[in-house]
Amino acid sequence: MSEKFDEIPMAGNIIEPGNAIEYKTGGWRAERPIHIAEKCLWVKNGTCGLCWIYCPDNAIRLIEKDGKYIHEFDYDYCKGCKICYTECPTDAIVMESE
């Protein structure tokens, strides 16, 4: 953040697409979401996915592998906003203090 006016792109244009990946929002987290697989509809039968839809930082991965459904948090980017926790219909996510 020390660049001078002539060391940054014109008009604030972001000329490298997808560079949000360089910004790890995981550092903002005060509380960490924990997944309880037994309660999760995705793990059970590959449905729901509400947490994945609502997560503002794409920090949830829903994986389908060898007929199994896996749920993962990406803690590099999860900022602890609790939206997934609020939206989950089966209380499959709990928050723990960092």
């Binding site: 006016f5 014109m10 008009a11 604030g12 244009n13 972001i14 697409p17």
Partner: protein, 401 residues
Amino acid sequence: MTAVKKIPKDDVVIEGLTGDAAIAHALKQCDVDVLAAYPITPQTIIVEDFQKFAADGEVKTKVIPVESEHSAMSACVGASAAGARVATATASAGLALMWEILYCAASMRMPIVLTIANRALSAPINIHNDHSDSYGARDSGFIQIYTQSCQEAYDTTIMAFKIAEDHDVLLPIMVCIDGFILSHNVERVEMLPDDAVADFLGIREPVQPLDPNNPITMGPLALTDYYFEFKEQQDRAIKNVPDIFKRVEAEFEKMTGRSYGMFETHKTEDADIIILTHSTAGGTAKVVADTLREQGEKVGVVRLRMFRPFPSEEIAEVVKNAKAVAVFEKCLSFGGAGNPLAMELRTALYHLAERPMVTDFVIGLGGRDVPPTTFVEGYEKTKEYLKKGEAPSYETLGVRK
């Protein structure tokens, strides 16, 4: 780029055109890619004529008939971002509705040409000329040029694209004509051949266009950490304008024999009192100066063209030896330390150890006619104030009081 050649006389078409029609013809020849506009009196003919060119297949332009001026400027920003050559036109309330996006256009560095038929702002509703509309937008980051005649409006519209699109500038530009006084006034206009305009302008070369194959983000968030740096960039860009403007005008002059400058000086060398004004009033002021000179009065005129960036140093240089500068302007800055034009001039002169007196006359609001006698009245008052050694900060002329 091909070298600019003088255009043979026989290739020039002379027509009687209103200011609006002259601008519409210029836009047509400038091969505008996108024109997004909403008609408003007294700019209407520009949009109407251009729509006709489009309907008749005389231009390849994508004309977007938007539902408001806010949308007009927004569409222009989008099109310009994609690398298109873009124009629009408005006046008065229409410009006011564009306000938010004017600043976006300038700070996103979109070289949009915005032609304005200057008109008073409501209320009461008034369709006639003054400069309250575009003066209000003076801090938006647009370049502003005010023109006196239909010929000048035509020429300036063509040059505007080349100035705005220059990579050292990349800023939007307003080309202003006086509503009705010029917009609806048929004058003699010499029109250039289409290919001469095409050669002069070339095709816009965008620096960082929106392109699906090379995606970029424009107009994102910049807070306390970066915003100020982008304003620094923008400030430097507008400071580049005079150099580019002069280069473009010189090239245009080679082709047409016509150039206008950032301002026009008329009999200023030995003048005791210099009138500063612009647009059509600038023409009348020159006639007044000629007539008063015949009476032995030492009077000259500076007819300003470029209000943004304001050519402070150059104007100070021209007027510094006069006893007084009499400013005539069509705008009130309610409650201000001065009105817009006089305020610029006073600031430009402040550093001089010995400055001319500056008198300021607000004229012609809401289209009130400004006959030569109004200038004579202001001139006589200025002489009186010189004798007294003091002048009011401003006064209105031509109003019943």
